[in-house]
């Protein structure tokens, strides 16, 4: 098997200011599937085509932002090895017992030098996508509910110490650097895009003075046409749109950035090139960051740099 170690982004837990308003947004407008609620009041969602029980969890709080972001790893042996590797590297880790999140096994939790809480886990119940495993149809009616992305794709996080975060992901967790934006003096990375497989990114970080900030969680859309449809649905529902529809230079992905009702940015994302671990990193100079962000307009939208939750 070629893909081992960390497999993919598995879950994000995000804080919302009004739970009922957020549920209506994520279920009816973004078109996620609600899969459960727990005793803490958290609401669990998955994208329609995801097979695991949950990928996006919200809880009510008096502040917006990200609680933690989790990756699925291959198996329990991998989880234990990565836990030991993180500790050997000098990070402290914590075990969250199985069942603390619905349908989810034991998690290894650690905090990055950027202030973000990361998790690894090996088990989450397979609830399926509503399509049989034998002679499957290509899609189900769930595809037509709201924007209806097919999976949680990645997240972009803002915080300090991006160089140290880069080392942890590449030296301990087996990621590789797909693209980067240099700082204005060209001596360091202002932003990094990291992959653990053949996706153009599974997580990204940008240097920012405040720790632990969420720039966006991204949801995968199946086509450019469906990105435009997502934009239509956003406008029909008075969703606050930030940037797009347009295409990133970085990743080549097609995108709309918008905000949930609590000010957590999300992305509807399609495409991107398909890197391999042996490919050379693609580099953007800071003076071309505008092209990297919005290739047709060559515009470094100020909100991209300054608005986070």
């Amino acid at each position: 098997m070629a893909l081992t170690g960390v497999l993919r982004p598995g879950h994000a837990q995000v804080r919302v200011l009004d739970l009922n308003e957020a549920v209506r947004f994520y279920r009816d407008v973004l078109g996620l599937v609600e899969t459960g609620r727990d005793a803490q009041g958290r609401v669990y969602f998955k994208c329609w085509d995801e097979r695991d029980h949950n990928s996006y969890v919200i809880r009510e709080s008096d502040r917006a932002g990200l609680d933690f972001f989790g990756f699925r790893v291959l198996d329990t042996a991998t989880l234990n090895k990565l836990d030991a590797d993180l500790q050997a590297y000098g990070l402290s880790t914590e075990r969250i017992p199985a069942g603390e999140m619905l349908a989810t096994g034991e998690r290894v939790r650690f905090t990055l030098p950027s202030g973000h809480v990361m998790e690894l886990y090996a088990e989450k119940d397979k609830v399926g996508n509503g399509i049989p495993l034998i002679n499957p149809a290509p899609w189900s009616k769930a595809r037509d509910n709201g924007i209806a992305p097919i999976r949680l794709d990645h997240a972009l996080l803002y915080g300090p110490n991006v160089a140290e975060v880069h080392k942890i992901f590449t030296e301990v967790l087996g990621f590789y650097l797909v693209e980067r934006v240099l700082t204005p003096d060209g001596k360091a990375n202002a932003a990094i895009w990291l992959s653990c497989g053949q996706k153009v990114h599974d997580i990204a970080f940008a240097e920012y003075p405040e720790p632990g900030k969420l720039h966006h969680c991204s949801f995968l859309i199946e086509s450019w046409d469906q990105v435009l449809r997502a934009g239509d649905i956003m406008s029909m529902n008075q969703v606050a749109v930030d940037i797009g529809p347009t295409r990133h230079g970085v990743t080549r992905g097609c995108t709309i950035y918008a905000w949930d009702p609590s000010g957590n940015r999300f992305e509807t994302f399609f495409g991107g090139h398909l890197p391999y671990p042996d490919y050379e990193t693609l580099t953007w100079t800071f003076d071309n960051f505008g092209q990297g962000l919005d290739y047709p307009q060559r515009k470094l939208h100020e909100t991209f740099l300054t608005v986070v939750s």
């Binding site: 200011l17 009004d18 008096d62 502040r63 917006a64 932002g65 606050a240 930030d242 905000w259 949930d260 009702p261 609590s262 000010g263 957590n264 940015r265 960051f289 470094l300 100020e302 909100t303 740099l305 300054t306 608005v307 986070v308 939750s309």
Partner: protein, 105 residues
């Protein structure tokens, strides 16, 4: 019910109904006085200080609005709904951009 909002920093005035946020009405009318961010009370860039007037609010993030802020009318414009004519000044982290000094990334 329509009210008039005055942005003291820029002298701009615009109409805002009681069921529309201070930020939403400004943006809809194409004015530019207050910085526009997430429009959901989460990011804090549209922070204003209400100098005079009555209003109602919806939930906004404590990362940006403390109890002391609330007591002094320092709020996020995207979550404030006017109940009378109202005047405000911009105090958010993008204040520099509103008031004309250089905005560089």
């Amino acid at each position: 019910m329509q009210h008039t909002v005055s942005i003291e920093d820029t002298g701009e005035r615009y109409a805002c109904s009681s069921d529309e946020s201070l930020l939403g009405a400004m943006a809809r009318l194409g004015r530019r006085g207050i910085p526009v961010g997430c429009r959901g009370g989460g990011c804090g860039v549209c922070k204003v200080e209400v100098l005079a007037g009555e209003f109602q609010t919806r939930a906004m993030s404590r990362d940006h609005v403390s109890d002391d802020d609330r007591a002094h009318g320092r709020l996020l414009a995207c979550r404030v709904y006017p109940a009378s004519d109202l005047s405000l000044k911009v105090i958010g982290k993008l204040h520099k951009n509103v008031c004309g000094s250089a905005a560089s990334p």
